[in-house]
C-alpha cells in the first residue's frame, strides 16, 4: 500500500490506537515504526489507568499539570477501557478493581478534598476515606496513611499487550505495519505528504505523528517545529507472589504507584526520574530514585519489604513543556496531525478516537482545541530542540 489514506509514524500505544480506529472506520492505514513496536515509552510505562484526578507533579517535575482539565477526558477513557478487550478481541490483563490515592499529611488530605470536588463536578465517582476506612478496605496500607481518595474506576492493563492488540486489530481491518522502518524524510507533494524511509516511500494526504519523544524530530522533517520536553522515568518490579493486592495505590503528595499485576509481580513506579534520557539507546536507572521510590512505597505498603526486586528499567516519557497532552492538526499544515504527551496510556483510546473523528471531519467527543499543537510551535528553525 504505497498510497494509503493515512500514514502513522510511531507504533507505540497512540500510533496503534490511531491505526485501529482509522482502519476500523475504513481508512487505508500504513504504520511506520523505526524499531520494534511498543519499544519506547509505551512499552516501559506503568500501565496505570488514571480515572480519579491525577497527582500534579512527578518527582522533579517543575510545571504542575492541570489535573482538573483532564478529568472529562479521563472519564471518557474509562468508558473506552471498559469495552476494549471485547473491541480488540484480546486479553490485555485489564484490571478495574479501583484505586486509592493516599495522603500522609493534613495538607495532602486537603488536596484530596479539593480534587474530590473537581471529580464530583466531572461525574467521576470518588470518596474521601479516613485512614482507618482505607485500611479496612486494604489492610496492607500502613498507619502512615492519614486519608485516601478511593475511585472504583482506577485500574491498570499490561502495556506489553495493549499495543500489540491494537496493532493486530488494525491489521485485521487492513492496516499495514512496517517495523524496523525509520522515517528519513517527509516532503509535500501537492496536498499530500510523501514519507520516505531510505529508498521506500508512501504518499498520503494525512500524516499522524505519534512518535512520542521523537515528535519533534519527525515533525522537523516536514518543516514543522514542535517543542517537546521528554524525560526519562523508571519502573521497579518485584518477584512474583500469590495475589494479595487488587487495587492501584497512588500518593497525592508525590509520584507513586504500586499495584500487583496478573502475573503476581508488584510494580512500583510513579514517575521518579531516571539517571538520564538517552534518545539513542536505553536510558539508565538512577539509584537515588530507586531508593526514594521504594522507601516511599514501603512507607505506605510495608509488606513490600519482604519481597525481592527483580527488574528495573528506565523509559522515555514524551512530556510537553506545559505538561498537558498534545492532540490535533498542526495549524498551517493541513493533514499533519500530532498526538502525544503524558497520560498517553490512559488516554490512548480517546486520542485514537479523536484523531479518527477529526480526520473524518467530525468534532471530537470532548473539546480538545486547547490541547492542540499550535501552542507548542515555534518558528525559528535554529532554536535548539532538545530539552
Amino acid at each position: 500500500m504505497t498510497q494509503p489514506d493515512v500514514i502513522v509514524v510511531g507504533a507505540g500505544i497512540l500510533g496503534a490506537s490511531a491505526a485501529f480506529h482509522l482502519a476500523e472506520r475504513g481508512y487505508r492505514v500504513v504504520v511506520l515504526e523505526r524499531g520494534a513496536p511498543n519499544r519506547e515509552g509505551s512499552g516501559t510505562t506503568a500501565g496505570n489507568l488514571h480515572i480519579q484526578a491525577i497527582h500534579t507533579r512527578r518527582p522533579g517535575q517543575e510545571v504542575p499539570v492541570d489535573s482538573a482539565r483532564l478529568l472529562p477526558l479521563q472519564l471518557r477513557a474509562s468508558d473506552h477501557w471498559s469495552r476494549i478487550e471485547e473491541q480488540l478481541g484480546a486479553d490485555v490483563e485489564l484490571r478495574r478493581g479501583g484505586g486509592f490515592m493516599v495522603a500522609e499529611t493534613a495538607a495532602q488530605e486537603q488536596e484530596l478534598r479539593e480534587k474530590h470536588e473537581w471529580e464530583r463536578h466531572a461525574g467521576i465517582p470518588t470518596e474521601v476515606l479516613t485512614g482507618d476506612e482505607a485500611r479496612e478496605r486494604l489492610p496492607l496500607l500502613s498507619d502512615r496513611v492519614r486519608a485516601a481518595s478511593w475511585c472504583p474506576l482506577d485500574g491498570y492493563a499490561n502495556p506489553l499487550l495493549i499495543t500489540p492488540a491494537y496493532l493486530a486489530a488494525a491489521r485485521r481491518h487492513g492496516a499495514e505495519l512496517h517495523p524496523f522502518t525509520p522515517v528519513t524524510d517527509i516532503r509535500r507533494v501537492g496536498d499530500d505528504y510523501k514519507v520516505l524511509s531510505g529508498d521506500r516511500s508512501w504518499t498520503a494526504p494525512v500524516v499522524v505523528n505519534t512518535a512520542g519523544p521523537w515528535i519533534t524530530e519527525i515533525s522537523a522533517l516536514a518543516g514543522i517545529h514542535i517543542r517537546m520536553s521528554p524525560v526519562a522515568i523508571q519502573m521497579h518490579v518485584t518477584t512474583r507472589v500469590p495475589p494479595v493486592m487488587h487495587h492501584l495505590v497512588q500518593h497525592i503528595g508525590e509520584g507513586m504507584s504500586v499495584k500487583q499485576v496478573s502475573a503476581g509481580n508488584l510494580l512500583i513506579g510513579g514517575g521518579w526520574p531516571a539517571a538520564g534520557l538517552d534518545m539513542a539507546g536505553r536510558s539508565t536507572v538512577s539509584l537515588p530514585s530507586m531508593a526514594g521510590n521504594l522507601a516511599q512505597a514501603g512507607r505506605i505498603l510495608p509488606f513490600l519489604g519482604g519481597l525481592r526486586l527483580l527488574r528495573m528499567w528506565a523509559g522515555p516519557l514524551a512530556a510537553t513543556p506545559d505538561e498537558m497532552p498534545v492532540i490535533g492538526e498542526v495549524p498551517g499544515h493541513p493533514g499533519f496531525f500530532v498526538a502525544g504527551g503524558t497520560y498517553a496510556f490512559t488516554l490512548a483510546p480517546v486520542w485514537g478516537d479523536t484523531l479518527c473523528r477529526r480526520i473524518a471531519g467530525e468534532p471530537p467527543a470532548d473539546p480538545v482545541d486547547d490541547l492542540g499543537p499550535g501552542r507548542l510551535l515555534y518558528d525559528d528553525a535554529t532554536t535548539p530542540v532538545s530539552p
Partner: protein
C-alpha cells in the same frame, strides 16, 4: 576417602526436620544434598503452571530449589548448609 592414610573421624551429624519429619545429616552438607539423600526431589510448584520442581543448576542461578529454611521463604537449598535443628519446608501442595 583416601586409602592408606590415617583414619579420620566421620563428620559430626546434625538433626534437621524436613516438612516436620526429623532426619540426620552431616554438618556442613548443602540442604540440597540432604534433601536428595532423603529421596526428596520435589521442592516446590512452579507458580505459573503448578508443576513440581526441584534442584537444577546446583549453583544458585536457576532458583528452582527454593524452600523455606528456619522460616525464611525463598532460601536456595543449593547454597545453604545444614545446621543443627534446621527446619526445612518444601511447598509442593496446592
Amino acid at each position: 576417602m583416601s586409602a592408606g592414610k590415617r583414619v579420620r573421624p566421620l563428620p559430626e551429624t546434625v538433626t534437621v526436620t524436613i516438612d516436620g519429619t526429623p532426619g540426620q545429616a552431616w554438618a556442613g552438607q548443602s540442604v540440597t544434598a540432604v534433601l536428595v539423600s532423603a529421596g526428596i526431589w520435589s521442592l516446590r510448584r512452579n507458580p505459573v503452571n503448578g508443576q513440581l520442581r526441584g534442584p537444577f543448576c546446583g549453583m544458585g542461578v536457576c532458583l528452582e530449589c527454593e524452600v523455606t529454611i528456619d522460616g525464611r521463604p525463598g532460601s536456595r537449598s543449593c547454597t545453604e548448609h545444614v545446621t543443627d535443628g534446621m527446619d526445612i519446608r518444601t511447598a509442593t501442595h496446592g
